[in-house]
């Protein structure tokens, strides 16, 4: 495993639960933190109250969207090198291209199949 500290920013509790469940099954040793507020996540990362090797990011969130989070992250030298993987319900091309342009490393449409989720995460973290 190339990452030891994984951060998921998603306001959907079900998706947080499914993510943690999948992570537990495929990589129990990896430290997983979930936050439902992108602004708070940005602050903690800045303060170094929180350290992440990779960030999984939902886009459609209140307070601060995934896109806003990405552009804020880019402005911060120290944080801009953290790889960000988008995990969104959307499969819209425009959304995908926009996220890529903002520096997202990968775009994953949330699958409707738990096994598939595990497979995807496994490929990413390997």
């Amino acid at each position: 495993m190339q990452y030891s500290r994984v951060l998921l920013i998603d306001d959907d509790e079900d998706d947080q639960e499914l993510f943690l469940l999948a992570m537990k099954e495929i990589a129990a040793s990896v430290e997983c933190i979930t936050l439902d507020n992108a602004r708070s996540a940005l602050t903690q990362l800045e303060n170094r109250a929180l350290i992440a090797d990779v960030i999984f990011l939902d886009l459609n969130m209140p307070i601060m969207t995934g896109q806003q989070f990405l552009s804020e992250l880019n402005k911060r030298e120290a944080l801009s090198r953290i790889p960000v993987i988008i995990l969104s319900t959307s499969s819209n091309n425009e959304t995908i291209n926009q996220a890529r342009a903002l520096g997202a490393k990968k775009f994953v449409t949330k699958p409707s199949n738990f096994t598939e989720l595990k497979n995807i995460l496994h490929r990413i973290l390997e």
Partner: protein
Amino acid sequence: MQSYVFLTGGGEMGERTRQYDWTKTSIGSPDHWPKSLRGIVATILSSRFPMFLWWGQDLIQFYNDAYRPSLGNEGKHPTALGQKGKDCWPEIWDIIYPLISQVLTTGEATWSEDQLVPIYRNGAIEDVYWTFGYSPIRDDEDKINGVLVICTETTQKVNYLQELTKSKRELEFAIDAADLGTWDLNPRTNRFTANTRLKEWFGLRPDEEIELPLAIAVMHEEDRQRVTDAILRALDPASGGYYEIEYRITNPLTGVLRMVCAKGKALFNEESKPIRFNGTLQDITEQKQAEIKEQLARRKIEESERNFRNTILVAPVAICIFKGPQFVVEIANERMFELWGKTPAEMLHKPLFEGLPEGRNQGYEELLTHIYNTGETHIAQELSAKLPRNGVIEQHYIDVLYEPERGANGDVTGIIAVAILVTEQVKARRQIEQVVAERTKALAERTDALAEANKNLERSNAELSQFAHIASHDLQEPIRKVVTYAGMLENSPQNMGEQAKQYIQKISTASRRMQVLIRDILTYSELSRRSPVFEPVNLQTIVGEMQVEFELLIEQKCARLQYHDLPTIDAIPLQMTQLFSNLISNALKYSRADGPPLITITSSIKDQQVHIEIRDNGIGFDQQYADHIFSIFQRLHRKTEYSGTGIGLAMCKRIAQNHQGDITATSEPGQGATFHIRLPLRHQKTAGR
């Protein structure tokens, strides 16, 4: 003072001769004059004939009263008396001394007629003509000692002669200039003399003579008797001798025909016999021809004027001619009288507005005056005209043409007026215009209402589209979870009874189908959400990608996908992918069970339009559903037979429309289906082209 008998009388010169102090001259006192001198001086002084004498060695001069005018008022008189010849005539001494000398030496008299001898008189040198004789006078010793001049001044006669010659020359010149022939008939001999020109006309040489019969023969046959009669009449004293006649002659040499006018007069002697008959002959051929031409032209003008008047009278429109600045009605046809609402008697040969006072103050006086003054043609349509009809003034409308009529010198002399009564047409048209205006207004109102309805429809469509988009987008999340959790349940069967397992499976199937539906609705709604960006899209590449995408299905069904040389067109790339994806997916889906699917994609270009045909050998459909299949949620089959949401072809149609194109389908059940897509080759707002 001594008186001498021989010096008595003689008027002024007698007196002067008597008073003169002759002792101062070389001839001395009259007491000692020789007899011969006394005699000749007496003769001179008593003669009424102008006489002059030079006497003795010094040529001492004597002259009488008759001679005196020749010396003029200012000049030699009276100093010439007793003067030496040489002193008196210095200006002509060169001329006269040789004559004098000749007479003195030879004793022979001389005679000179109309000799120019200029002399000083009346204060100037004058050209004076003389006819004079110098005669020798002998003295008592019979020796020639004097010269008597008997002379007459002929200046007046010479001048008259010169005048006469000049007039004659002028007359000849005039005759010549006027191209006149002259003739002079001797009635006794019937012979002519004539000038060269006349002879030439009669075909004679200048030196040939003319006789009357010959001249008559040259005349035109029809004219001969007339001319002969005229000549005979002129030679009859009772006629006064006048002769004037026109006749034709043909030059016998050249054949040239001339029309001539002969004028002349006969002169008679005391016995009333004609002695001379002369006159002129004028070539009037051209004049006659011109006259004939003019007559013809005048006749033609008259004829065309008659025609013009007839044309006016029978014309199918109202026509009239106004003359002069008062617009006197010269001629008008029946239609014009009808238009005026007047009888010919009321209008003809009267000023227009006198016959038609109702026509005043409608602008026509000013209009006609303007045309009359400027000579401009005036054409106007639907002029308002208030005209009398059975004693009532009615509103009418006329189309008019006013054309100025010009006289021979180009000045406007009148106006030709053509008028067409268009009252009925104008009224009808105005009614139509009113109806049209009303209808246009009503139509505009309805158009406005329609536009409003359309706007509402567009708004509600947009709202609906927005709703569909939001709904489908937000529904994705819950359905994904339902599908996920149902799947998780399905995969942990150990905790459930059989019944529960079946239910879970049904939930899972239904929710997966619902997920597909929601995704398709979202895709469909997104097709019309944003203003699309066109760019060159290679359809061959797109279909190639589809072949990869459907690789698994193609393998499973042993299908063949044939396509080649598909063009590059201006399009929205993603939508082209969706279009071909849907159509190829359909063709694979609705394949026949009894054979492998064959999908053929061909294209052609005509008039900047690409026509793409996607032909399959599948189950096909009844042609009556050809439109139906493109409506959203319309399915021809139960979903258990063929899976699908009923959105795919609706999406294809929307995509074609987004490209200003069209999609149709032709098929027969069991015979496969062909989808026809027509798309513009080029799109104006295309990026990167």
